[in-house]
């Protein structure tokens, strides 16, 4: 099958790949480019573990064809830490014990980032709504909700 050239920006750096038409973005990121931070949980858009941010919008990379991302700006959990310093959300997840097996964590963090990018001081209900497309088996969600609220508070204190 003929391969299709795709170029996009991943966490600030240019990527160019030849991919088979129909390849999902999840597959391209993990198996072509080597960014394994998005996880393949259900491969049908149910669990949210593959969530990434494309041009500022939260997207499921398992349901997104890579060739539709030509020219896009893609953000994954692997690009959140800067200069070895964890992103406030990553810090808050650690401090709140919001991770157990860790499989849902990258998707949770991207869903939370998409929320905080547009709503820096969310209510608990807004956090719950933002995380409702992501499944977690271990934590019972409450520590994750608390981590997102904590990260939002930490961010607004830094801004003040």
């Amino acid at each position: 099958m003929a391969k299709v050239p795709v170029q996009f920006t991943l966490n600030g750096s240019e990527k160019a790949e030849f991919i088979e038409s129909g390849t999902t973005l999840l597959h391209a990121l993990r198996d072509k480019i080597g960014d394994t931070s998005p996880k393949g949980g259900c491969h049908q858009g149910t669990c949210g573990a593959c969530s990434v941010i494309i041009d500022g919008e939260l997207r499921l990379s398992c349901l997104t064809l890579a060739e539709t991302c030509d020219g896009a700006d893609i953000r994954t959990t692997a690009g959140l830490a800067e200069g070895g310093v964890l992103h406030p959300l990553q810090r808050a997840f650690l401090d709140a014990f919001a991770t157990q097996c860790g499989f849902c964590t990258p998707g949770m963090i991207m869903a939370a980032k998409a929320l905080l990018d547009r709503t820096p001081n969310p209510s608990r209900e807004e956090v719950v709504e933002a995380l409702s497309g992501n499944i977690c088996r271990c934590t019972g969600y409450e520590p994750i909700i608390q981590a997102v609220l904590t990260a939002a508070r930490a961010d607004s204190q830094n801004a003040a």
């Binding site: 259900c42 049908q44 014990f97 157990q100 097996c101 719950v128 409702s132 969600y141 520590p143 909700i145």
Partner: protein, 334 residues
């Protein structure tokens, strides 16, 4: 037709480990040339934090900071034997094996230090910070780093230890059937409050209040984390999860995640966790196994709360709206 409120309580005893052909776990501990300690296990960290707990247990026994311990659970083909991480046995079984292995390694470490310091090994103690001191004369000391270097390159000693913890199989007494399947029991009690819509059969869990008696909590934050997640999972088992909704008829079973129901972040009940610590006699530093137990008592508590609310006993899980409506119909007809 109304929303009816009910409250249910349930208490459980939970055995740690299992009683098949005996329940063994082994551990090996050895020092690196720079005085870090490797613990080799075939037990698995599923995300419950077993590596952290084993590092704490080994560090406490040898007398070094936890970050000087490396846990290797890489390979069940090449590692020492473990029955596995299940039945809430990880901390209890592997922890005891690690203590035994670490004690043996500590003894060799003290013997090498004794040769370096020209004292008797029984006169030495560790400061928990990576140093070995002469009791009563702490100015006379040697770092564990230097002891490990000496053992490797000068004294020709292996600072290592072997650990084995085995709960032998318990056979039932022929006359009575009585047996002792476990040596260590954790306990829990849950009070659940629910609302049941007797028109739709829908159950809303308003609150779950849990008390867990788990022996000594070796890492209290991780215990809390597991109990909070487990309490949610118990409600999930009680009301939502099944792959066989019409068992033994396999029709209409879920085939993927889309059809396997679990409560999401919007369905959380108000949750309270209280931890009681009554150290276990044969547990590592008094620990029991909180593992699976944390998701158990919510199930009968919710079933009892449903009975309290609408007067029907649902004895098949999960307690779905359909089962409640069928039971209410039978009750009305009866």
């Amino acid at each position: 037709m109304a929303i009816r409120r009910g409250r249910g309580v349930a208490a459980i005893n939970y055995p740690t480990g299992m009683n098949l052909g005996g329940d063994p776990t082994q551990a090996l501990v050895h020092s690196t040339p720079t005085g870090n300690f490797m613990v080799t296990l075939s037990s698995v960290d599923l995300g419950q934090g077993m590596k952290q707990i084993m590092a704490q247990i080994c560090a406490e026994t040898i007398g070094v900071p936890t970050d000087r311990v490396i846990i290797d659970t890489a390979d069940t083909d090449t590692g020492p034997h473990c029955m596995g991480t299940f039945a809430s046995r990880g901390t209890h079984r592997a922890g005891n094996a690690v203590i035994q292995a670490a004690k043996e390694a500590r003894q060799v470490m003290l013997e090498v230090a004794a040769e370096e310091l020209e004292v008797n090994a029984s006169d030495l103690e560790t400061d928990g910070q990576g140093n070995i001191l002469v009791k009563g004369a702490p100015q006379k000391s040697i770092s564990i780093f230097d002891v490990a270097l000496s053992a490797h390159f000068k004294r020709g000693r292996s600072i290592s230890g072997r650990g084995m913890f085995l709960i032998p199989r318990s056979y039932p007494e022929k006359e009575t059937g009585a047996m002792k399947p476990s040596t260590c029991y954790a306990h829990a009690c849950t009070v659940a409050e629910v609302e049941v819509d007797d028109e739709t059969g829908e159950v809303t869990v308003l609150s779950v209040k849990n008390v867990f008696e788990i022996g000594r909590a070796l890492n209290p934050k991780m215990v809390e984390q597991q109990l909070v997640g487990g309490s949610w999972m118990g409600i999930s088992h009680a009301l939502y999860e099944t792959t066989e909704p019409y068992y033994p008829n396999r029709d209409h079973g879920g085939t993927d995640f889309n059809q396997y129901l679990m409560p999401g972040p919007g369905d959380l009940a108000e949750t309270e966790i209280i931890v009681l610590e009554r150290p276990s006699a044969d547990g590592p530093f008094g620990a029991k196994g909180p593992g699976e137990m944390c998701a158990n008592p919510q199930i009968p508590a919710v079933a009892n709360a449903v009975f309290d609310a609408v007067g029907v006993r649902i004895d098949t899980l999960p307690i779905t709206p359909e089962r409640i409506l069928r039971a209410l119909k039978a009750q009305a007809a009866g």
